[in-house]
Assembly symmetry: C2
Homo-oligomer: 314 residues x 2
């Protein structure tokens, strides 16, 4: 049973962290990374993206990576499905969760997936229909992802009503979960509270996740605000890798290691061993020598006499 | 009149940011820095520390720097006074605020100012007596600073009761303001709420400031938590310079530029022009070529179509 202190973290570095890079991360090293991070206790990992190999050569190894992830006991494998074809691929490979992403910003949606938001919603409906036709045991959970929900580097501010409208549409279509994303790091604790509360008021108890970028240093402040709203699932990437090629100025996701430290130090349970997690950075570092790695915990270590959350209340 | 939306930021880079560095920052460049930052709208600047020049050669130019700060209209000059002698020096030079710092951690206090906490409190009492003997117009405001209030790299966790005890002692002695400092970046939003609420409950409406370090990436999350508790004055340093030579593993203060962006984007009024503030980083950069400068706003710029807080509600 999950308590209100349990928080699920989802590593997105293997997808969001790699999609912008020119360097193709070797398949066996991706597998070493996800194995090590699962062994550190990270319960969900977004392992790939089902984009055509021409667009995303980084993800040409999706089949192998998903197979490796599926072989790890208790790990929930997530993959980005940009469209029906991608979702079908995910079903074939047997991922546990499909992450369908549309942008609340019309312009960003046009640039990122080259279609109107209404077409994206229609795509989502087709994915749900396809999933419904499957036997229950073969049906992955479906995340309805809303990117640029807290601002857009093309359009600037995004009206809360637009987020609520898109959230409603994806839930009506059959989303199992919603993921609200601040793709370009415009969010503040104030806007996070406003948007998450409005979406919760609209869609009731559909599980809400948050995906923040640390573009202007506010990532963990926004996590803290979302926690207060009751959000209990967060995307992050080890060492803060990440960005979006269609969102100029976007930099890394929030740092997984610092996120897990903050949650643990606040008395939340993530299931993650912080020392083991920090050690996984070496795998990223050896494969991306020129890429900046972020994170305060890795630089400064745990506080003296630190007692992990799981041992504190025992 | 101040409203609940008004937040005062205090630049501490010229003191906290420089005290650990081997490089002596040239006096005229310190003056250029503080002038530029005051011109960007920063209302308070901690310009120096009255430590003996043998211990702090960085601050041998205190007289010149304070004189320059005093000549700037509307700027409140702050200086660290480690003891009675330092406070007397501050009075002679005419600083507007004296920041007396003791550590809530006994061990850190012994290492940092080489005395027991009770001796520090007795020092503080002597400073108050000295200040009371002055004509009202010559009396600087006195900040009672409590460092290591949210954790200590020697002692680990610090009991809330210890913070409350020290806060009570400084307020009883005659502190005009209190400054609660997370010297080594151990605080979380949870511990910030716990400590600030406990101190507020004890000392009533004495103004409380917060001084956070971004050691493990939680600095702005902690600001957000303190804001919720009603705190409306924050220390920070441009580009996140800073540290403490007696607190191993301590890294920079929270980044002034990102703090001002967060506050402004949340609709608070700081009086700071964000573009002008970011431009001041060039002065720091040209004088400290080897020192890492932090900050997301400087890296990524303002959000598209960003409207400053002061213009939004107009």
């Amino acid at each position: 049973m999950k308590s209100d202190n349990d928080v699920t973290v989802c590593e997105v570095g293997l997808r969001d962290g790699l999609q912008m890079l020119d360097t193709v991360f070797p398949t066996d090293e991706k597998i070493a990374w996800l194995r090590a991070e699962a062994a550190a206790g990270v319960p969900e990992i977004e392992v790939t993206s089902f984009v055509p190999p021409k667009i995303g050569p980084q993800f040409a190894d999706a089949a192998e990576v998903v197979a490796a992830a599926r072989s790890i006991e208790n790990l929930i494998s997530v993959a980005l499905a940009p469209n029906l074809k991608g979702a079908q691929r995910g079903v074939e490979l047997g991922v546990h969760k499909l992450n369908f992403v549309m942008s609340v910003s019309r312009t960003h949606n046009l640039k990122n997936v080259r279609r109107e938001r209404e077409e994206s919603i229609a795509d989502f409906v087709r994915i749900v229909e396809m999933l419904k036709s499957l036997p229950a045991g073969q049906r992955p959970r479906l995340i309805g992802g809303l990117s640029s929900a807290l601002g857009c580097s093309y359009e600037g501010a995004i009206a809360v009503e637009e987020v609520v409208h898109c959230a409603r549409a994806l839930v009506d279509a059959g989303a199992d979960e919603l993921l609200i994303a601040d793709t370009v790091g415009y969010a503040t604790p104030t806007s996070v509270r406003e948007v998450f509360k409005a979406v919760q008021a609209e869609v009731g108890n559909v599980p809400l996740s948050a995906h923040f970028h640390d573009t202007r240093g506010l990532g963990l402040a926004n996590v803290s605000a979302a926690l207060e709203c009751g959000v209990r699932r967060f995307d992050a990437s080890l060492a803060g890798l990440g960005g979006c090629q269609f969102a100029p100025g976007a930099t890394g996701n929030i740092v997984m290691d610092d996120l897990c430290f903050m949650l643990d130090a606040m008395g939340m349970r993530t299931g993650v061993d912080l020392d083991k997690l920090v050690a996984v950075r070496a795998i990223v570092a050896r494969n991306l020598p020129g890429t900046p790695l972020y994170g305060g915990l890795a630089r400064s270590g745990l506080p003296r006499n630190y007692i992990p959350s799981a041992k504190r209340s025992a």
